[in-house]
Amino acid sequence: MAEASRPRVPVKEGYFTVPSDPATPPRLLGSRCDDCGEHFFPRRAVCAKCLSRRTTDVELGPRGTLYSYTFVHFPLFGSMRVEHVGYGVGQVDLPEGPRVQLPLAGKQEDYRVGMTLEAELEPLREENGRDVVIIRFRPVEAR
């Protein structure tokens, strides 16, 4: 597919990885507290739980459990693609602890609370010969 062959850049740096191999799922960029071990997304300098100032950058995911979801009947802001006129949003519990809120691929009927999801990159638009991508989730069994 032509899209996959173009270089990919994240819509915003510092939130998720963009693997060079399109078959490798992206991971979320978070932090782990050196003192109490709590994990966070996105990265933070001070632990929100124990207030330690010592945190380490970690990669989270790429799989998680769907806590809740919806499908929004409006265009995804910032996307130039007609297939984004409606979109899903899910709250996903990562195995490391954080809950994240991200767009969902596919359609409402693909989802149910408690299922396992995996992260993927989705192009929003092309800029200077590169795909600007966001991170979103899709059901594991649909891959």
Binding site: V11, K12, S68, V72, H73, V89, Q91, Q101, I134
Partner: protein, 381 residues
């Protein structure tokens, strides 16, 4: 809260007002509040002004509409809880003895905000890319999963609020005939399971409260019931596993529980003492959750209470008597003050067709950006 009364209230009706400025709407609400209090602007010793979307210095500039008297003016902002937060600071200014009469003015043009945010924000990242309804819809999906809540329960809340709003001359949405559950369910789907009629509209408007020492009210308007502010609480979030750091908007459920406990403790009252309650019902699922989180019913009982009509006027405790955010509207800065307006009129017995019989104690709850909860309890003296 020691010896603070709501001396006067005023509003500019919420709605789409493309030809009116914040100054126009703020002036109308403020002059109405002064007239209601029987005061002149010369009597106002300080002002706390709430807005979210207006430019820098809009507080001091808008206050010039009333005249230039040199009074101190402060801008307070806390997202949807802006008006409530400004009200709280004004109450403290009176309770501390610093001032006798303080104006709280809230205004906003959310219609202008929607246009500017579409141009200015990084449009593609998370909370900027997802419609707020989407975040609240996920609260509904989870509730349906855990409790078997039906879209009909959410529609019943919205219908109640629309029908309350039809009795409020300041309400943005004025239904010409009784709104039914079926009509709410049939309106446009925004974010499943939330329909357009389960969601607050965007709009413009202004609201004002004058707070001051209770003896001023007794002296100026002898015979009219005095409405006192008996407690104020404002909290932010406490960390819990699963906290959403991006795209909060909804905020953790525990924040409303903790803030309501604090306000009940200060007031020496409990949820069973409330005659009417206003909540942050930007979406119908919120009002359903707040019934439980504020202690108006026990956990898991909200659906049964809705089916019984417990929260209608004439029910066990009337909620969103002015139409709530869903019908009365939610411009932003003035919204929390519209709750104070409604509660004050109700406690004086001046709420007309939507009057809650014998109302003596009322509560006003607002959430700000999912990160702030502000609650006030007002009581007829």
């Amino acid at each position: 809260m020691k010896d603070v009364a709501v001396l006067g209230v005023g509003m500019h009706r919420f709605g789409m007002w493309p030809d009116k400025s914040n100054g126009d709407m703020g002036r109308e609400a403020g002059l109405a509040a002064l007239d209601d209090a029987g005061l002149s602007f010369r009597d106002v010793q300080a002002a706390y002004v709430g807005y979210i979307f207006a430019p820098v210095m809009s507080a001091a500039r808008t206050m010039k509409e009333f005249g230039l008297t040199g009074l101190p003016v402060q801008h307070v902002e806390n997202a949807s809880a802006t008006g409530s937060a400004a009200f709280r600071e004004a109450c403290f200014a009176v309770a501390s003895g610093r001032h006798d009469v303080v104006m709280v003015l809230g205004f906003d043009k959310m219609t202008a905000m929607i246009q500017s945010s579409a141009q200015n924000t990084d449009p593609a990242w998370l909370e900027d890319s997802i419609l707020p309804a989407g975040f609240f819809a996920m609260w509904a999906t989870r509730r349906m999963h855990e409790r078997g809540t039906k879209p009909e329960h959410l529609a019943a809340i919205a219908a109640k609020n629309f029908n309350n709003g039809a009795l409020n001359p300041m309400s943005q949405r004025q239904a010409s005939e009784t709104v039914t559950v079926e009509k709410v369910l049939a309106s446009r789907m925004v974010a499943w399971p939330l329909t357009a009629m389960m969601s607050c509209p965007i709009g413009d408007g202004a609201a004002c409260a004058i707070v001051g020492r209770p003896e001023i009210a007794r002296r100026l308007l002898p015979g009219r019931p005095v409405v006192k502010v008996v407690a104020s609480a404002l909290q932010t979030e406490r960390y819990e596993r699963g906290h959403l750091f991006i795209g909060p908007v909804v905020g953790p459920a525990r924040m409303s529980v903790d803030t309501s406990r604090a306000v009940y403790e200060e007031a020496g009252l409990g949820p069973e003492d409330m005659d009417l309650v206003q909540v942050h019902d930007a979406f119908a699922i919120e009002e359903l959750e707040y019934y439980e989180l504020l202690g108006l019913c026990r956990g898991g009982e909200a659906e049964a209470c809705i089916e019984r009509g417990d929260f209608a006027r004439g029910g066990r405790v009337a909620v969103s008597t002015d139409g709530g955010l869903i019908a009365r509207g939610h411009p932003g800065g003035p919204t929390g003050l519209a709750q104070i307006w409604e509660t004050t009129l109700q406690l004086r017995g001046e709420a007309g067709k939507r009057q809650v019989d014998g109302a003596r104690v009322g509560m006003c709850h607002m959430m700000g950006g999912g990160s702030v909860c502000a609650i006030h309890i007002l009581a007829r003296d």
